[in-house]
Amino acid sequence: MSEILVIAEHRGGELRPVSLELIAAANELKASSGSTVAVALIGAEAAALTGAVSVEGVDEIVTVAVSNTNFQPEEWAAAATALIEARSPSLVIMPHSVDSWGFAPALGATGNYGFATDVFGIAQDGGEWVATRAMYKEKVHAEIDFPGKSTVVLTVRGGTWKPQEGSSSPAVSSLDASATANSQHVTFVEPPATGDVDITQAEFMLSIGRGIAEEDNVEQFAELAEAVGATLGCSRPIADSGWLPKSRQVGQSGQIVGACKLYLALGISGSVQHQAGMKHVENIICVNTDPEASIFSIARYGIVGDIFDIAEELATHFE
């Protein structure tokens, strides 16, 4: 019987929720491929997280107690390699996350395993794994196969599967692995407290992107947000330019606006990274000059037009 191995991710002693999404993905593939599902926990203290991953469908948990508690790329790559060599899983999945970007490519680079990143579809075709990912800024999807590889390693896009619920009592085993660590964790740096709002609590967001063009235009949209009763947010370029504090940034490297029910995106094209923070919102409305912008494919309502014209007219309805 073949195995699907999920490499769980954790930070600061907490399981990252995306790990449960990957277990759900593994469970979906479990029946169709006749596989078992094992979850690997890598890290000096990762064994403390066995309870957190004992969700429905997990057959086994394997802990690899490397010397670092926090992510360290060489140790994580060595642990993953040891797991693959010891267990010969047919499929290994891990989140397409910043930590995975740091170590997963090392597995592909060995040349021994099939490898693809940012995958959001996984299927079997004639007993071989086929992965689906996007290309050309999401305009095209591609099916990827892995000729001649008995183990395939994939990093999987967050938000694709719903987190696995339920509970199980999997067997727990351990494995040893070690590597020379050529980098050392010093500290985690929390985003600066700005005394600003917490956008993760906002129910109505008005977010601005590159379309505002100049820093001087921020004020106009800050006033509009206040007038319509929304919390002002932004996409990455606005925060990178220092036009709004990082705490207002929505997206993968910013915040996920978990409480938001209504999201008005002005001059935001809707990159994958931005969508990671807001795609889940029930009512997304967008205004953009480019009708091909990907934000239109996830919005409920859209206006193809100039955000300055629309903003000026919109303000007259909220005086």
Binding site: A104, A109, G111, A134, Q184, E203, S253, L314
Partner: protein, 264 residues
């Protein structure tokens, strides 16, 4: 001091495009090309390190790509890189990121720089893979998604911050030489000056093949890859209900919708 910066020419697909006859890629006639946005930040990181080093040191840019990719190398030379290398030949066509990384690894071994900078990912296909794949093949220290860097040429370690999810950062020290992937926002990339652009035309740009790097045919292209695109297709997408009319009419309807959905 020598820093090697690896760049990629990325494709922007036209609104209307066609899939290639073999179904495995889009027809390149429907693409515009530009330098990957992340690479501007990698190059700027290298340029600033040299400026802070009394303008001492060499910056070499490299890409794996066809003739057109020379444009992006020239732009880097215009901004201040000293020398460029473009690797390409027909056998490289069809390489996945592992095979591309194998080629870049050979270039690094030949050049023996003190640091290698690459973008976190490329804007078109977003693999987020090549930099760390090069590090593994070299056996060099590495860190991905660097959002700030404190490095003095010749030092045995550098201090960097990695940008994690949700606004969190991690400070690390990393042994040098290292391969680092550079994140957007680490600096403010400069524009090339007119003088720089003029000078760039005279700077050396070497064109080499995989054979020049000592790689065999089966180490590049599909044979040297661990993944293969078997087909591409246009996904079905949701489409927003468009609000039509003049800006005044559109805004009036938008105001109604906002008032209704926000419960105001």
């Amino acid at each position: 001091m020598k820093i090697l910066v690896a760049i990629k020419q990325v494709a922007n697909l036209d609104d209307e495009f066609e899939i290639r006859e073999d179904g495995k890629d889009v027809d390149p006639d429907f693409c515009d090309f530009e330098i990957n946005e992340w690479d501007d930040y990698s190059l700027e990181t290298a340029l600033q390190i040299r400026e802070n080093n009394g303008d001492e040191g060499e910056i070499v840019v490299v890409t794996v790509g066809p003739d057109d990719a020379e444009d992006e190398l020239r732009k880097c030379l215009g901004k201040g890189a000293d020398r460029a290398i473009r690797v390409w030949d027909d056998a490289i066509e069809g390489s996945d990121q592992v095979a591309i990384a194998r080629i870049l690894t050979k270039v690094v071994e030949q050049e023996a720089p003190d640091m290698v900078f690459m973008g976190v990912q490329a804007a078109d296909n977003a693999y987020a893979q090549t930099g760390m794949s090069v590090a593994k093949q070299l056996g060099w220290p590495h860190a991905a998604v660097v959002s700030s860097l404190d490095y003095t040429p010749g030092a045995s370690t550098a201090t960097a911050r990695r940008e994690l999810e949700g606004g969190l950062e991690e400070e690390i020290t990393v042994n040098c030489p290292a391969v680092l992937t550079i994140q957007l926002g680490i600096n403010e990339p400069r524009y090339a000056s007119l003088r720089g652009i003029k000078q760039a035309a005279a700077k050396p740009l070497d064109e080499i093949s995989h054979g020049d790097l000592g790689l065999s045919d089966d180490e590049v292209g599909e044979a040297g890859s661990v993944s293969r695109v078997r087909k591409v297709f246009v996904p079905e997408k949701g489409q927003a209900e468009l609000i039509e009319g003049t800006p005044a009419e559109q805004a009036a309807r938008l105001a109604e919708i906002l008032k209704e959905l926000s419960g105001a």
